[in-house]
């Protein structure tokens, strides 16, 4: 926002991912009996990373635009691999999102009693990877962090998860790794196809020297490789099972941030570096995303498990993001990034209410078995409704602005698709209201629910932060949109102008 000026001689972006590597090493040496200390260290450093990302957000100069806080170190110069970090408007929004979600996720993890050491180390490593992806500008480095973000998930879900956890964990990992394999094909194609022999994304994007034919061939692997993580149809099936199986904080991180990593990869690697290929394939992708949006919402409607509802709602909402990417205009891209932010916060809120506040106490998430919880935990009800309204696109909440921008942007490019996708709005309303009613307002079905333990301060704090952000961004969206616009404008230009330069 340019509100403050940060000293330039500090490697801010390295600090931000190191701020989570350090505690994961520290926690590794804390004796097993000191559970409370592990929680404090983990949460403390997560908070530090949030502060750092907020500082960067405030210190970014939108007037200057472009990549700022750039760090460059030779890594393997003979192969054109550099340690190159930098942030623009898009990655800043994602950094703040990640900071918020990891901090609140850490707060929601205080009840992990079994093997807390491994849990915290893996959780922090995962988040390190996410931060790393958002700040790296070298494709190789990007990929290294990307994998680091994906793999700890296997153990996190498999050990601390619930419902069919081993199946969910394996399915998720296999899908995402198959995606990575596709992405590597795309990366190698760019590296050799451009003839530049570098993984520096800024250089690769500035001179798109890859021939149009090659771009058309290798755009799908790179795009789909990341789109798997974004939950794009028909590669979305891992996502609801994974979300349901994961422990609360991991669901929050996963639906809240990791799926955004996929969309971010699609935008940053595939669309930015292969604009000609993108122009060729995006209409097809737009058609596929209709299925995401409408089918995801419809399936959510039919679920009885509250976590499955949120899982399929994520598929539907991420479908909107992908649809906006496929439209590729500036306003659509802005909407996409804003939707990633809004959906991240909202889903984190949902999962903390359903996964932590409700499931940890009632040990069930089946809608028919729940009911009347509004009397028992009014705070949870308020938060869930807040998230629900944002999800439905209620004006005054973050989700509204995002969906509004997306539908405007998609309308410009593909009016028919926008109309079809709009069907999802009433469906979303229906399944959210149904969930709200049967969880919080129906009659109490199980008398034991009346004596559930009170919410803890961690739960109050975490959920309150998430709720406050939804309202703040809803009331004053330009706090984000201004910065996001500086990031998406060059991308939108790239998509529409480079064609002229390279030729079809």
């Amino acid at each position: 926002m340019g509100l403050i000026t940060l000293p330039t001689d500090i490697p801010w972006l390295s600090l931000i991912w190191l701020s989570l590597v350090v505690p994961s090493v520290l926690i590794g040496v804390i004796p097993n009996s000191q559970k409370q200390l592990m929680r404090i260290v983990g949460t403390g450093f997560a908070f530090l990373s949030l502060v750092l990302s907020l500082l960067l957000f405030l210190g970014y100069q939108p007037a200057a635009g472009g990549f700022q806080f750039v760090e460059r170190l030779d890594w393997m110069p003979q192969l054109g691999i550099t340690y190159l970090l930098g942030v623009d408007g898009i990655s800043l929004a994602m950094l703040v999102l990640n900071g918020v979600v990891i901090f609140t996720g850490a707060l929601m993890s205080w009840n992990i009693e079994s093997r807390p050491k491994e849990y915290w180390v893996l959780l922090l490593l995962l988040t390190t990877g996410v931060y790393g992806v958002f700040v790296s500008l070298d494709l190789f480095l990007f990929f290294v962090f990307y994998e680091l973000a994906v793999l700890p998930m296997y153990l996190l879900i498999g050990i601390w998860g619930s419902t069919r956890k081993e199946y969910g964990a394996m399915k998720l990992t296999m899908f995402l790794m198959a995606g990575s394999a596709l992405a590597i094909i795309g990366m190698l194609a760019i590296y050799f196809g451009s003839g530049l022999r570098t993984f520096d994304m800024v250089v690769l994007a500035r001179n798109v020297t890859m021939s149009g034919d090659l771009q058309r061939i290798f755009f799908p692997p790179l795009f789909l490789g990341f789109a798997v993580l974004a939950g794009m149809f028909p590669f979305h099936t891992w996502s609801p099972t994974g979300h349901v199986a994961a422990p609360t904080a991991v669901s929050m991180l996963h639906a809240g941030v990791l799926m955004k990593l996929g969309a971010y990869g699609c935008l940053r690697a595939a669309m930015w570096l292969m604009p000609v290929g993108a122009q060729y394939w995006l209409p097809t992708i737009a058609v596929l995303t209709i299925l995401n949006v409408v089918y995801g919402a419809t399936i959510a409607m039919a679920q009885r498990d509250a976590k499955y509802i949120i899982g399929y709602s994520s598929v539907s909402h991420m479908g909107l993001v992908m649809m906006a990417l496929a439209a590729g205009t500036q306003i659509a891209l802005m909407g996409a990034v804003l939707q990633m932010f809004a959906h991240g916060v909202m889903t984190a809120l949902f999962f903390s209410v359903v996964g932590r506040m409700i499931y940890e106490r009632t040990h069930t998430r089946q809608l028919p078995e729940l009911g009347g919880l509004g009397k028992v935990m009014p705070f949870a009800a308020v938060m869930f409704i807040l998230g629900g309204l944002s999800s439905m696109g209620m004006p005054g909440l973050a989700g509204f602005w995002a969906e509004f921008a997306i539908f405007i942007g998609v309308w410009e490019k593909y009016p028919l698709i926008a109309v079809i996708a709009a069907i999802s709005i009433p469906i979303t309303g229906a399944y959210i209201l149904r969930a709200v009613y049967s969880v919080f307002f129906d009659e109490v079905k199980n008398p034991e629910f009346l004596t559930l333990p009170k919410l803890t301060w961690q739960e109050y704090t975490g959920a309150a932060i998430l709720g406050a952000i939804l309202i703040a961004v809803g009331l004053y969206p330009s706090v984000l949109t201004e910065i996001i616009n500086t990031g998406v404008a060059p991308l939108a230009r790239q998509l529409n102008d480079v064609i002229v330069a390279v030729g079809p």
């Binding site: 393997m76 290294v144 296997y154 990992t173």
Partner: protein
């Protein structure tokens, strides 16, 4: 001519031989008896002597190579600099000794790899209990290591054959050392297949020799006819006889490195052999085979390299190897999926890994010298990383089977709760095998994929990428057993200090090499000077 000044150039081999004799001799001269206590004492003495000796030889070889520190020419002469200068006089040099043994950078790096691997293996063996005369066990490892070093430097057919036998025969004995049914079967099987492959290779060599002899028709001296570079000179126009010889040699070495379809022996042998020996066979002996193959093919048959570009101009040894790589990747990875024995699973994983290594050889098909050099670097980097990883993985398995008494996947259940450090180290090795960043295994694979793609074998790279996804499934099964399953008992699982330190060294190297590959890539890139012959 062999000169006195050539002695420092083969110093590590000489030292290995001396050490082996010393280990044997010290045990013979000090026959303490064969009661259990005495035997344990003898095992300790031999094992420690071997480990310390190998550590020293590694340091000497490292100093000699000059990779860490090279003495400047104008250094003042004193006692230490004189020793150093004399040692480094045997450093990387251009001319092979009597045309048969090159001490170039390839040999130097290979030596360090093999001696390092033997050192780690000897640490793994510190706590195993050979049942008869312990010294033989350790001396065999040393003889075999010496054979590997000779294999890496051999530039002449007879030398190659002798080195291969020198490596293999001790390994046959070691594989069958424990005398149980499985172990004996492993030893016998290894021996029979090994003898077969030697015969194939020897037949191929005899064809090459005959070709050279008829081409030169009597105008030759000494060992001219069998020198690889001579064969290369003569093979310019290409001859079916030479191609035949090349194919037979590839098949022979293919058995040694266990690539499909010559892999039949390896799961049984790996499973039956004592676990530390399995680590040694699967890591060092395979690496030696690949280095031999690399030198043979690039020095003796460069004109038959051909190309691995799909559809255009398949032909030559690169496309043959590409085909083998394809089979190896698919069969190795698919066959590993249903395994329930962890050792056997890792055995199939090593077969699959050989497929990736072959990709590095296929890179020789690239038209540009620069890309071929990259291919060489990728190959050697992969071999170094693979050696470390496999020793780490089998080492961890050795610790588990020593404590639990079995090596099924289910024996790993709940390892994280019984011994967290061991489980973490094992997991890191397994993930490095799977190619997960930021571990060295990832960069090794990525680099191999890069050079393979550039050489035109992009179709193979794409298939290889998907087999890595398949491989992840069985690697994750090991992780699942260690971290997710409930342990059979809750009591801590003891891991011997020797094994833990060997795995720790391997894992530390994997992390460092993964984060800073340039630490060794700079040294490895010197090999290109040889390959450019």
């Amino acid at each position: 001519m062999f000169q006195l000044t050539d002695i420092p150039r083969i110093l590590p081999e000489i030292l290995l031989l001396v050490l082996a004799l010393l280990v044997l001799g010290s045990d013979i001269f000090e026959r303490w008896g064969s009661s259990d206590a005495a035997r344990l004492e003898r095992v300790r003495a031999s094992a420690q002597l071997t480990a310390i000796g190998l550590g020293l030889i590694f340091v000497i070889a490292l100093i000699q190579s000059g990779y860490v520190y090279t003495l400047p020419d104008d250094a003042p002469a004193n006692f230490f600099t004189n020793i150093l200068r004399n040692l480094q006089a045997g450093g990387p040099g251009p001319q092979p000794i009597i045309g048969a043994f090159a001490t170039d950078d390839l040999t130097m790096i290979a030596r360090l790899t093999f001696i390092g691997a033997a050192f780690l293996t000897s640490l793994l063996c510190l706590d195993s209990h050979p049942n008869s005369n312990p010294a033989e066990f350790y001396a065999m490892i040393l003889f075999s290591t010496m054979g590997m070093c000779l294999m890496a430097g051999a530039t002449e057919l007879v030398m190659i054959f002798l080195a291969v036998e020198m490596t293999s025969i001790p390994l046959y004995i070691l594989a069958g050392y424990f005398g149980e049914a499985r172990s004996s079967e492993a030893g016998l099987k290894y021996f029979l297949f090994g003898a077969m492959s030697s015969a194939l290779m020897l037949y191929g060599m005899s064809l090459a020799y005959g070709f050279a002899a008829s081409a030169l028709a009597g105008n030759s001296v000494a060992n001219d006819l069998t020198q690889l570079s001579k064969i290369a000179e003569l093979s310019g126009q290409g001859s079916p006889l030479l191609t035949m010889s090349m194919v037979l040699i590839i098949a022979g070495v293919g058995y040694k490195v266990a690539v499909v379809p010559f892999h039949g022996w390896s799961p049984d042998v790996y499973q039956g052999a004592p676990t530390p020996i399995t680590a040694f066979i699967s890591a060092a002996s395979k690496a030696a085979g690949f280095i031999l193959l690399f030198r043979l093919l690039t020095v003796a048959f460069p004109s038959l390299a051909g190309s691995a570009v799909f559809g255009e101009s398949l032909g030559g040894w690169t496309s043959l190897l590409a085909l083998l790589a394809l089979l190896t990747l698919i069969v190795g990875n698919l066959a590993a999926l249903p395994q329930t024995n962890a050792k056997r699973l890792l055995a199939y994983s090593s077969i699959a890994q050989a497929g990736f290594i072959l990709l590095g050889l296929v890179a020789w098909a690239a038209p540009q010298q620069f890309d071929r050099d990259q291919g060489t670097s990728a190959l050697i980097y992969y071999l170094v990383v693979y050696t470390l990883t496999n020793i780490g993985a089998f080492g961890a398995l050795a610790a588990v089977s020593l404590a639990v008494g079995g090596d099924d996947v289910s024996d790993l259940n709940g390892l994280a709760r019984r011994n967290l450090p061991l489980a973490v180290l094992f997991a890191i090795c397994v993930l490095s095998l799977a190619g997960v960043p930021p571990l060295a295994g990832f960069f090794a694979k990525f680099y191999i994929f890069m050079v393979g793609w550039q050489s035109g074998a992009w179709w193979l790279v794409i298939i290889a990428l998907f087999t890595t996804v398949i491989s992840l499934y069985y690697y994750l099964r090991l992780l699942k057993a260690m971290f997710m399953e409930a342990p059979a008992t809750d009591e801590p699982l003891p891991a011997p200090a020797g094994i833990m330190s060997a795995i720790s060294i391997a894992v530390a190297a994997l992390l460092i090499l993964g984060l800073f590959p340039n630490l060794v890539l700079g040294i490895i890139s010197r090999v290109q000077a040889v390959a450019g012959l």
